[in-house]
Subunit: 229 residues, 2 copies
């Protein structure tokens, strides 16, 4: 497949057709670049590294124009990471809101939202939780995105403990184990698609049961709108 020259695929603007942004509108290119990079990184079909030139091609701009808005390719990828990270947090927000007040229902909703995000956007999940890139920024875990997600997970676990919905235990320790399992759900499913995986809900419930101590009974009224469970 290499050596096949597809300079301007149908539907994508080429550098010759695109008109420059007007003065004061320079940031629009920045947005377009991030969006294009995000689209290319989401594709889970092949495992090719992002090409800066492909991003520029999609936007209809010459490769060097990327450097007007980002120091290098890594900078562009970081902009994508931050956005998709915000997406994940919004998905968790929505899930918790819909789950209502029951602490164990909220925790279960959070876990399913985490896994759901990862399974729907495998490329982006890999970017957030499988690359060393996201561990390098900042002096410690505090400076790294991903800390907010863990903190929210921990909060949901703590509420279960406080409400005696789960047996007493160290919330940090429990949340850490739970995170390991949830990451496994997303990461191994992607790398071993041929394995006879049980449904995500089943796996999540087993983790919640074994690691947090939530009763195996499904919380009432939860996920009534998820078919096939």
């Amino acid at each position: 497949m290499r050596g096949v020259s597809i300079r301007a695929p149908a539907g994508n603007p080429s550098a010759s057709t695109r008109r420059p942004n007007r003065r004061g509108q320079g940031d629009r290119l920045r947005e377009q670049l991030i969006d294009a990079a995000s689209r290319l990184l989401a594709a889970p079909a092949v495992e090719e590294p992002l090409s800066l030139r492909a991003v520029a091609r999609q936007v209809g701009v010459v490769p060097q124009s990327v450097y007007l808005h980002f120091p290098d390719k890594t900078g562009l990828v970081w902009a994508v990471i931050e956005r998709r990270y915000a997406d994940l947090n919004r998905a968790i927000d929505a899930a918790e809101l819909e789950a209502g007040d029951d602490p164990s229902a909220r925790l279960r909703a959070l876990c399913l939202a985490y896994c759901g995000f990862g399974l729907e956007w495998p490329g982006h999940y890999a970017l957030l939780f499988e690359t060393r890139a996201t561990g390098q920024l900042g002096v410690g875990f505090e400076g790294s995105p991903g800390v907010a997600t863990f903190a929210r997970m921990r909060g949901a676990v703590q509420q279960c403990l406080d409400a005696a919905a789960a047996p007493a235990g160290d919330a940090f320790a429990i949340t850490t184990s739970l995170w390991l399992g949830l990451h496994g759900v997303v990461s191994l499913r992607r790398s071993k698609p041929g394995f006879p995986w049980p449904p995500v809900e089943v796996l999540v419930d087993r983790l919640l049961g074994g690691l947090v101590g939530l009763p195996p009974d499904r919380p009432m009224g939860l996920f009534r709108d998820i078919p096939g469970t």
Copy 2:
């Protein structure tokens, strides 16, 4: 750092210094190529994709020579995957042998060997368990490397159940959850090195306790030679 031309780093042969193998010794180049690729893939410092030209450079051969032994770059990577996969299985062999007859001790040793391999060779572990490459070969999970590791894990779990070292349960279901957690131990540790991770032994014991139901007491005489636990 790019644009700096290092054609033949000190200690590496260059295409001009290397002498051709004698007749009948053509496979030696094949071995050298796999070894060089494996070395480059093990380096966890940066997350750069393997360069076929870098492999050839290390061996002191011209890039095209790789195609004498492998159909393309992916073929070379597959040869590395198979070898490192064999390493993992050997590490598990050794751990089980040393663990003795107690089923729970054997299972714990297996889990620690799995994590130990992943933490010692993060690049190789990522190759085996974080890339879609290893899930594509073969028509199902059966044709994929990784199935043997799971099968052995399942066997060790089954022995715990049979010996009543753990409460009754579905060995497949239990092993699946356990694998998710163990994968998380290796994978998240690598991608979030700033997180205040507890020691691997502690994490593994929590997973074994929560998911398999092994008693929290450390099996006697086990890992007496692992310091700091």
